[in-house]
Amino acid sequence: MPQVTTGSSSMKVAIIQFPGSNCDTDCQAALLSFPGVTAEIVWHKEISLAGYDVVVLPGGFSYGDYLRCGSIARFSPIMAAVRLAASTGVLVLGICNGFQILCEAGLLPGTLMRNRGLLFRCETLHLRVENNDSPFTSVLHQGQVLEIPIAHGEGSYFADAETLQALKANNQVLVRYCDASGNVSAAANPNGSLENIAGICSHGRNVFGLMPHPERVCDLILGGTDGRGIFQSMIDWMPAHKSNN
């Protein structure tokens, strides 16, 4: 049974800053727009994440995307603490380069490859919520269409057939690229991702990686608020589940 922490609506977030992260302060600003949330930037050379309820791996170009996206960040000192946090049920959210790092680290299955069309795609597009049984999508409903921007050159999700089968069997695909009406089609796939996959969660459902940038659509002044549902889901999930640490 989840442990109930009475009277607490607070959520303490660590946003990991790698050399080359560039969406860290955007994530922080988006999170701080929610009441009761504290969000701190944590340098990648730190070794502890004790006391945090959520860990965010933000977008950017960690280590200049050298070798492969996320392949060097995955060995940063903080990653042992991220791994430990994930294993104890702390929510871990990887956005764009953060998703790539989570895959390189083996915290999520599969990998993100070069976009099928070789172009860096930077545009707002549509995502269909495939499953709301997760801490990251609980206030959304299945089939809901969100408008959220992408900005990546290596976002083509790939996993072998066996892994893909397991992802689907366990409802780990949380968001797919779709058109404005919610149809998941080849035309709506910006990068050649397998089965239009835009984001997946771990088997334990507390680690979520996605290529689109929800933090960029959390304020009307930025053109939309469709990203807020993902953060609101985490906030709503928190009081009933967070451990006393």
């Binding site: 070798l67 392949s71 599969g110 990998t111 490859m113 099928r116 069309g117 070789l118 050649g192």
Partner: protein
């Protein structure tokens, strides 16, 4: 010692950069281009090391860092 690691996309994986390069080769008049695959070659020099003592560690590094086993294969050659 000197080692060379060659990292290539697995045969079943589409290599979009290779496909685009193949098209460019055809555009330049090269006939019958069947396949172009683009990988990486990584040269490593290590001071004063006995190759045999490092082979296992180098394989680990190839597996964990230099290649992504989900989509890539590597070949490790120790040259001297």
């Amino acid at each position: 010692m000197k080692a060379v690691v060659t990292v290539m996309p697995k045969p079943a994986i589409l290599d979009p950069a290779g496909v685009a390069t193949a098209r460019a080769m055809e555009h330049l008049g090269l006939k019958g281009v069947h396949s172009v695959r683009i990988g990486k070659s990584i040269e490593i020099e290590i001071d004063g090391a006995d190759p045999s003592s490092l082979t296992e560690q180098l394989h680990e590094i190839c597996h964990d860092l230099l290649s992504n086993p989900v989509v890539e294969d590597y070949k490790l050659e120790i040259l001297s």
